[in-house]
Amino acid sequence: MAEMDTSSGGHKKGPGVKKSKKLSTRVDLTPMVDLGFLLITFFVFTTTMSQSTAMNMNEPKDDSTQVLKVKNSGAMTILLGKGDQVYYYYGQLEADKLSEQFKSTNFKEIRNLIVSKKKATNIDDLMYIIKSDKESTFKNAIDILDEMSICAVPPGHYAEVDMTPTEELLISKTEEANGIK
């Protein structure tokens, strides 16, 4: 191994050679500490703790022999439209009372509506029917299921169903009237 020459080389010590002043080897580390903690805070704040979670999804078996009967008084149909719009009605749509029954709302309000329906209805009769429009997004579909678990609606008391042409027409008419694109 190569060794470093630490001796003062060919210099001769003597009265003519000035002794160099010994400098302290201590360095002020304060700025380095500052930098260290700055980096720590930077990393702590920039890392987002994004833990992916998994939501359970239960699909019903398609069985035409077993048709679930839902009481009119306990049913609330929630329709998801485009532009994060939500429409709802209670019970069954009646041709002469469409405009009264069919109401539009949004994801902020729907929670209160779900909860008040849940409180007003006997739990055995309670049924939320969720219908998603072609224009609604995946986010909408998951959000409404999430709303169900937030409102602690027991499983089996909500179901995703296909939309009927009447409802599609109603949605597109409402969207036109409200100017939702």
């Binding site: 002020d28 580390l29 304060t30 380095m32 500490v33 260290g36 903690f37 980096l39 720590i40 990393f43 702590v44 890392t47 994004s50 833990q51 992916s52 979670t53 998994a54 939501m55 359970n56 999804m57 239960n58 699909e59 019903p60 078996k61 398609d62 998801l80 929670r111 909860v115 998603s132 429009d133 072609k134 224009e135 609604s136 997004t137 995946f138 986010k139 909408n140 579909a141 998951i142 959000d143 299921l145 999430d146 678990s149 937030i150 409102c151 602690a152």
Partner: protein, 216 residues
Amino acid sequence: MPKVKIPRKSTSIDMTAMCDVAFLLLSFFILATKQKPPEALSVSPPNSVSAKAAPDKSILITLTKDGRSFLMLGDETKKADIINNINAAKGLNLTAAEINKLNKTLFIGVPFSQLKSFLSMAVEPSADKLPGIPTDSTNNEMTDWLHSVTNVYAGSDQRQLQEMLLVKGDNAAHYPAFKQIKEAFKKNEIYKFRIVTNGEAVPVGSELYLNPPKSN
């Protein structure tokens, strides 16, 4: 009165120890953070209040915002079996080398008809440019893939399989695309699967907040 002489002390403290601590913490945080694997497909999943962590090993169907579907077979032990199974079932006539190559692909995102030409490509195109597995109501190839998955897992724990089936969709994906994936599951008599979401706190004051379900 005699004067008391207070010895003057230097106010500068040795910072070495503190510096050590700072950098130790810094290196700890950097090394302890789990790096997100680079995602070939950029998908931003919706939020949910679910608190269950998504498993690392999974059979993941990714739904991009333009409605394309991709399949990722995360269970390395069964991946080759699933590919062999689909090869036999659909008569794809893949050679051993092609099967081997498909086994190494992370995202499967081409229709059966294009599988051979996809595998013959020298440079694998990024998953973002692939057409995706067709999920139309007339030609739902996802059903065939899931059929092979269920075939391969037929002998093993079904509960475990259910835990592994994940769907990760983009917020902006349209609902019909998701519905077709649900149909593919249903046709294979899989009625339980899971959706990958971003964890979110339960809203204060809601029913779930007041009466959290007992964890078992």
